[in-house]
Every structure is written in C-alpha cells, then in structure tokens.
C-alpha cells in the first residue's frame, strides 16, 4: 500500500524532470516571441505593443486546423505563420505612416481590438471559454505525445528562428532596417524602399510569432484569450528591454530571466505565496524603470541602446 522510499524517490525525480521540461518548453516559446519582437523593436525601431496578438492568431489558427482538419505539424506551422503574417498588415499600415508615440498608440489599439475579437468570435475561437482538446502534432506519422520529444521540437524551432533572425539581421536586410530606424529620410535617399522593408520586417516578425503560437496551442492543448492580453505584450516587451534591444541574444537572456523569476521567488520564504504574481510584476516593473535610467541598452546591450549585433 505505502510506497517504498525508492518508489517515492523515483516519483519525485520524475516530477522534477517534468517540471523542468515544462519550463523549458515555455522558455523556447517565449524565446521565439522575444526574438521576433526584438526584430522589429530593436532593429527597425518599430515599438509594438501588439505582439501577443500575433502569438494568439498563430495559436488559434493551429487550434482550429488541428481540431477540425488535420494535426499535421508542417501544415499547422505553415498556416499559423502565413495567417499571422497576412494579418500583420494591420500593424504595418500605421508603421508606414507614423512613428513613435503615435505608432505605440496604434499598436495598443490593435492589441485591445484583437483580444476583443478573440473573446467574441465564438464560432472560431470558442470565445472566452477558449478551445480545448487540441491534439499533439503529427510529423509524417510520428505524434509528439512524449513531452521530452516535444521539448526537442521546441528547441529545434527556437534554434531555427534564432538562425533566421541572425541571418536577416547580420546581412543587408538588417542594415536596411537599422538605416531606416536611424534616419528614414536618408535611407530613402540612398535607395532603400522603406515601405517594403518595414512591411516585410513586420510580416516576418508576426509570422514567426505565429509559429510560437502554434507550438503553444499544441503543447497546452487548451488556449483562451487570457494568454494573449496586454499583460503578455508587456511581459514580452519587458523581456526584450531587460535583455537588451538590438542585440541578438539579449531577448533570450531576457526571456530566461523573466521566466525564472516566478520559480526563484517561490524559494524566498518571507514572501506570501498568494502575492507572488504581484511581486513578480513589481520586480520587473522596477527593473524596467531602473534599467531605463541607468542602462537603457539592457543587460546584454549596456549603456548604449540599439547597438548593432
């Protein structure tokens, strides 16, 4: 009846591994989101507060397809990426016309409108209740039911996104982006097709965020609008800023840091457990304030902001 000490030990070992695996998968997903947000924020100077919406679009697209048509990994990833990229034109439009505060406000508007659509378009998104029972993805017959296998998948995709980002950013496209960020009029004068570059960068950023959403839907098997609200966009922004805008690895550092925060906090005995979430928010709110005052480049970037990778 009672478990032997050995069995107990094994069970706890499994629990720890499961716990770590879980964090690792979420880290990969957040890492992809932070990388893609940094792509437009740090390199293009497009400060978007609507990133969570493209995450959400990808998630809902995959959920809908997997529940109604096919659980094929490739199909869902592609569909999520494409749909997010196409819908990102809604963000690209203001990006082409206005900068700075005006654009932030427009992206804020998009974020609010997006959540409302997620919550109200019940036939497609399941409304506030969300969508449940999303199956695990299927790659040529192999189904990723095993969590460790899924983690491997997530890591591969994270590395792919990192690779794509590095390629784009370190090459001529990245230089075009940064030129437009630093002086749009000069960039235009020297032959840069500003509108095309901005639109493309927004599309790439949103498309890859959609991929993250796809992974998320497959992994959690349940999604609802709560994961895609303004708080999420702000969290992502915090990751990018704290890690360092305009650096390649800054967003990953930021993602890792902000994700380990809740876990780290549980180890502090004097903190009331019910308030952990709140305290977490206070910490990264404070981090944002202090970093902007003393180290605007973030942890990886340093004193300077927007330094080329």
């Amino acid at each position: 009846m009672a478990c032997t000490v050995e069995q107990q030990f094994l069970k706890e070992g499994h629990n720890i591994i499961a716990y770590l695996q879980n964090i690792a998968v979420l880290f990969c997903i957040n890492g992809i989101l932070a990388l893609t947000l940094n792509f437009i924020m740090g390199y293009a100077g497009i400060f978007s507060l609507a990133h969570a919406i493209f995450f959400g679009v990808g998630a809902y697209a995959t959920a809908y397809i997997a529940l109604n048509f096919s659980d094929s990994l490739l199909l869902c990833l592609l569909a999520s990426a494409m749909i997010s990229a196409v819908l990102s034109m809604a963000l690209a439009l203001p990006a082409l016309r206005v900068r700075g505060e005006y654009f932030v406000a427009a992206s804020l508007g998009l974020q609010v409108i997006g959540v409302t659509i997620f919550s109200e378009w019940k036939s497609v998104t399941g409304g506030l209740g969300g969508m449940i029972g999303i199956p695990r993805p299927n790659l040529f017959g192999y189904v990723f039911n095993n969590d460790t296998a899924f983690l491997a998948l997530a890591l591969v995709i994270l590395l792919l996104v990192l690779g794509i980002t590095a390629l784009l950013v370190r090459g001529s496209f990245g230089r075009s982006l940064m030129a437009i960020r630093d002086s749009e009029s000069a960039a235009q004068t020297y032959g840069k097709h500003v509108n095309a570059v901005k639109t493309l960068s927004v599309a790439v950023s949103a498309g890859l965020a959609g991929v993250a959403g796809s992974l998320y839907a497959f992994y959690m098997s349940f999604i609802n609008p709560e994961s895609f609200m303004l708080e999420m966009s702000i969290l992502l922004m915090a990751m990018v800023i704290i890690g360092g805008t305009g650096t390649l690895f800054g967003p990953i550092v930021g993602a890792a840091l902000l994700m380990s925060l809740p876990a780290a906090l549980t180890y502090l005995p004097f903190l009331p457990p019910s308030e952990l979430g709140t305290i977490q928010q206070i910490i990264y709110g404070l981090a944002m304030v202090l970093l902007m005052m003393f180290r605007p480049g973030g942890l990886v970037g340093g004193r300077t902001k927007g330094k080329a990778a």
Partner: protein
Amino acid sequence: MLFAQLLANGLQTGALYALVAAGFSLIFGMTRIFHAAHGATFTIAGFIFYECYVVLGWAWPLAALASAAAAGLFGVLLDRWVYAVIQRHEGSFFTVFVASFGAAIVVQNVISIVFGRGMVTVSTPLSKSLEIIPGLFIAPIAGAVLASAIVSFALLQWLLTRTNLGIALRALGENPALIEVYGLTPRRLSQYVFLIGSVLVVPAAILTAATSGLNPSMGNHVMLISIAATIVGGVGSLKGAAVAGLLLGLAENLCLAFIDPQWSEAVTFVILFLFILFRPGGVYGRATVS
C-alpha cells in the same frame, strides 16, 4: 428611454474621461513625455481618497486634499527622480515611455497588495440614484461630476491664460529654448506641468470611487482612454483632448444600444486606429505629423 439613460451615463463618464485626458494631454503636449503612468496617478488618487475618507474617517474635503497631494506628489516625483535622469543622458521617447510603464506596473501591484485586488467603493449620500423620469436613473453625484469638471476646466483655462505661470507653461510647449532666455528653467516648469496634470485627475478619481468603485487595475483603462483622447483630439490641444474624452465616454455608452458591452472598449480603439491612419494630427491638430 434607454437612449436617454445611456446618454446620461455617457455624459457622466465622458466628463470624467475629459478630465483625465486633459491632464495627460497637458503633460504630453508641454513636455513631450509619454507619461504612461498617468493612469497610475488616477489609481493613487482614488485609493488615497478611499483610505482617508472610508478607512480613516476623515471629512471628505480633507480626504480630497490628501488625494490631491498624493497625486501631485507622485507626478512631480516621477518627473524629478526618473524622467529627469533619463532625459539628462539619453531621453529617447521610448526609454521614457518604458520607464513610465514600469512605474505604472509597480504602482498597480503595490496598490493591489495593500488594498487587495477586488473592487472597493465609497458610498456617499449623493450616490443613490433617483428616478428622474420613468426609466431614467440619475444619481445627484452625476451633477457633482459635471460641476467639478466644468469648474476644473474653468480654473485651468484661467491658469493658462491669465497667470504668468500659465503663459510660461504654454511657451514651454512651443519653444523650450525660449524659456531660458527669460530666466526660467524648463525643468522647473516641467514639474509644474506634472503637478497640474496630475491634480486634474483627482476630481475624476474621487467621483469614480463614489460611482463605479475602485480597483487597482482601473488605471489601465483610464490610461488607454487618455492616450486615445489626446491623439484623436490633437496633440497639444487641451480642448481637443477634453472634447475627445467626452465624446469617447459618450460613444462608449451609446454604442451599448447597438452592440454588446464587450465591444465598447474596442470601439474606442477602432476610432483611435482610424485617426492614426488617416489624420494622426487629430481633430484640432495638423493633418499629418512628421
């Protein structure tokens, strides 16, 4: 009658929005600082009033004063200790905005620790609704809302046009360099701007406490409305922000007659989004912005 009720509610909400939006527009228009913590000022003002009036049992004028002091202090200190430091070494709009946002997050969460996450209300003798005509319920406090909004704007108008300080403040918005010629410092004036802009929200906060109640995250919605109203009304135009705030409050309530309540916030943002696409200068601003 539903329409009249919505109209009345809309006017009340709109008056409150107009006040808060005017505060934000004043600050943004004159200092070009995107003070995303303005919503936090509103939350602080409301909760301090609640603490003093309900918990500590002070008389309401005293509680209102305490609320104003807290709001003003918050605005000024944030400017002095955070924004000034940032502007001294780098001060790009985004850095300031992020710091402001961070401050807002901190405030919201500290308040939720101290006061809990739920809704608290302040009940006053004026809060009880009366049936003016069949189907139309208005509480006397609505009258207080409109009255205080009008008085506040009148005071603001007087301040900006008739006093030396006010004129200097308006010059700050146009040409900061000119200020120094007259022996004033932009930094000093900026603090006055934050003081005035922050105190403007106090009547709105107190009345919100008395009508719909307070919760720690109410600053968010108010902040969003302020941003929307400032841009739609035209950056740099106080009148624009106030009018836009009023209209947004009306729109938010009136559209309840046609669509689900969940869409009302989205409506505000569709309006904002369209303005940014087609006329970012807002109603009272120029047609295009650089």
